[in-house]
């Protein structure tokens, strides 16, 4: 026990736990505040309760509504428990099944987007005029609200025979190529003049300069970009599920929840979506640590 107390004092656990506790407390207070008006209206309409309800009645009832404005954290946890742990993951009533539908589209999109982003960066770094020719379009592509363009992408792709996973993956790729391009242009041009002079003295050709110098030097910039990209890919896949009324996926659950006013269902889908995105970012971070260690990083 002594060592546990010591670890709590010296480590990061205590501040992290404190922040989590504060967030949960704020969430509870918010749920009470946002739900109270409807409960009070109910009390006032009821002959027995009118004028006789107490604050503890109010708190109890605001935290256990069927369709609250803001569900309490424990309601979301119960719903997650029901829809994740109590049903088989292959059932379409399982939130894990929906999460996998979304994640698979996001991962395909992430792969496509990362490849596209790297290819664009390689082209921009090696052909001077391409920077001016391509960069404005790359930036313009990201100024269009994805919610506006997603239905069109899905309709256009659907008309040429792409349905199901691929249209969603394309929207993910559309979102996540951008940070990869920006990061890789920076990374591929990051070698210092001295490092470039050195490899020139060996009369290396452009391909060798790329493989031996620019590519490995870019890794420090590639991984942070990939972390942003993978989180965007999850967002892209969810957005791709919204306009078509997709039958499966976290986006479909969000949509169904809002049709029927099932706020608890919406919030549990949101929580799981953020968990999926968070785990994806963590997976990229893990790949980063392994790669950087093999490349002599100090970590």
């Amino acid at each position: 026990m002594n060592s546990l107390a010591q670890r709590l004092r010296d480590g990061h656990a205590l501040p992290v736990l404190a922040i989590v506790a504060v967030l949960i407390a704020v969430w509870y207070l918010g749920a009470i505040w946002l739900n109270s008006q409807r409960i009070i209206d109910l009390y006032e309409a009821d002959e027995d309760m009118k004028g006789k309800w107490t604050t503890s009645d109010l708190i109890r009832d605001t935290l256990s509504m069927n369709r609250p404005v803001l569900p309490a954290p424990d309601q979301v946890v119960m719903e997650l428990d029901r829809s994740v742990l109590e049903v088989a993951p292959t059932s379409n009533r399982s939130l894990l099944y929906h999460a996998w539908v979304t994640l698979s589209a996001a991962l395909v999109g992430f792969g496509l987007g990362a490849l596209l982003g790297i290819a664009l960066a390689v082209a921009i770094v090696h052909v001077k005029t391409l920077e001016r020719a391509l960069m404005p379009w790359v930036i313009a592509s990201q100024t269009i609200p994805i919610l506006a363009i997603a239905p069109m992408i899905i309709v256009v792709l659907g008309s040429i025979g792409f349905v199901g996973l691929m249209p969603k993956a394309f929207i993910s790729a559309y979102l996540c190529f951008f940070p990869v391009t920006i990061g890789m242009v920076k990374g591929l041009t990051s070698p210092e003049p001295l490092q470039l002079d050195l490899i020139r003295t060996y009369s290396a050709n452009e391909g060798q300069i790329f493989r031996k110098l620019r590519w490995p030097a870019s890794f420090a910039f590639l991984f942070p970009s990939l972390k942003i990209a993978v989180a965007l890919a999850v967002v892209g896949a969810i957005v791709g599920e919204l306009p078509t009324g997709a039958a499966a996926g976290l986006g479909a659950r969000l949509l169904a929840g809002s049709y029927y006013g099932q706020t608890v269902q919406i919030w549990s889908a949101l929580v799981l979506a953020s968990l999926v995105a968070g785990l994806s970012v963590a997976a990229v971070g893990w790949a980063e640590r392994i790669t950087m260690r093999r490349m002599g990083g100090r970590a």
Binding site: L194, Q195, D197, I199, T201, Y202, S203
Partner: protein, 279 residues
């Protein structure tokens, strides 16, 4: 100018017919950098012949063009006038033929490569077999006394060790010509002395041609068979001092009267160029 001609004749007479072709031959070389406001003359009317097997130091204060001259020889900078030949061909052709090894002021190791893989970098680019890469790397790593450190990464080494890796890397493909730009400038005196001694032994053993940039008079005199004194604004040669110290020398020679004489002449040259002497 007359003095340089005389030196060239004399050294020309010394070399054997087989090695008659000089390693580096520079005549009337100019280099003017076009900057935003005014053109800057980095090198003005440089005449210099470096014979095979020579150890030539370029010495002078900051801004005298010694590094620029080395970079012109290495084809990292282009002259704007005059002529220069390296091994009888243009610097570009010499670079493409991998005629020289260049040691920079900083070690310039690639941080994601281990010591071994930094040393094999030029060999990979030159397309040697993996077996030969490893053999050659082992040989030069032993030469700079870093055996056992092959798997370390640059950040795990001291500055002196990093610079020794960079020397091993330059030696790995066995170039006849070594271009060294203040390779020990950032190191402390003790390590510097030791590396100087090792470099001298290496030169003596291998018969390589070395062109060595420095701003330290004792370093230049200790190492060189010839010392080229340069002066800034514009960068030019003010004196070329021939050293008759024996090739096979050690640190005791610093106490020698002849050593002091040569150092004195270099100092006078630096002063005559009214540049500010760093040391």
């Amino acid at each position: 100018m007359a003095k340089i001609e005389r030196l060239r004749d004399r050294s020309g007479a010394e070399v054997s017919p087989a090695a008659r072709q000089p390693a580096v031959e520079v005549a009337g070389l100019n280099l003017v950098f076009q900057t935003a406001d005014t053109p800057v003359t980095a090198l003005s009317d440089i005449n210099l012949t470096v014979n095979k097997g020579d150890f030539v130091s370029l010495i002078g204060p900051s801004g005298c063009g010694k590094t620029t001259l080395l970079r012109v020889i290495a084809d990292l900078e282009r002259a704007t006038g005059g002529s220069i030949q390296v091994n009888g061909v243009s610097p570009e052709q010499a670079r493409l033929a991998r005629a020289y090894g260049y040691v920079f002021q900083a070690a310039a190791l690639y941080p994601w490569r281990s010591v071994l893989r930094n040393v094999t970098l030029p060999l990979e680019i030159m397309g040697l077999s993996r077996k030969e890469q490893l053999e050659r790397a082992a040989r030069v790593i032993e030469l700079v006394e870093l055996t056992g450190f092959e798997r370390k990464f640059p950040w795990q080494l001291s500055g002196g060790m990093q610079q020794r890796v960079s020397i091993a890397r330059a030696l790995s493909f066995d170039p006849d010509l070594l271009l060294m730009d203040e390779p020990f400038g950032a190191l402390d005196e003790i390590i510097r002395d030791r590396l100087n001694e090792q470099l001298l032994q290496l030169w003596e053993r291998t018969g390589k041609t070395v062109i060595f940039v420095t701003h330290s008079i004792p370093e230049a005199v200790f190492l060189s068979s010839r010392i080229v004194v340069m002066s800034p604004r514009p960068g030019r040669i003010v004196d070329i001092v021939e050293s008759d110290l024996p090739r096979d020398r050690n640190f005791e020679i610093r106490e020698d009267a002849r050593f002091a004489e040569i150092a004195h002449r270099v100092r006078l040259g630096l002063r005559a160029g009214h540049g500010d002497v760093d040391e």
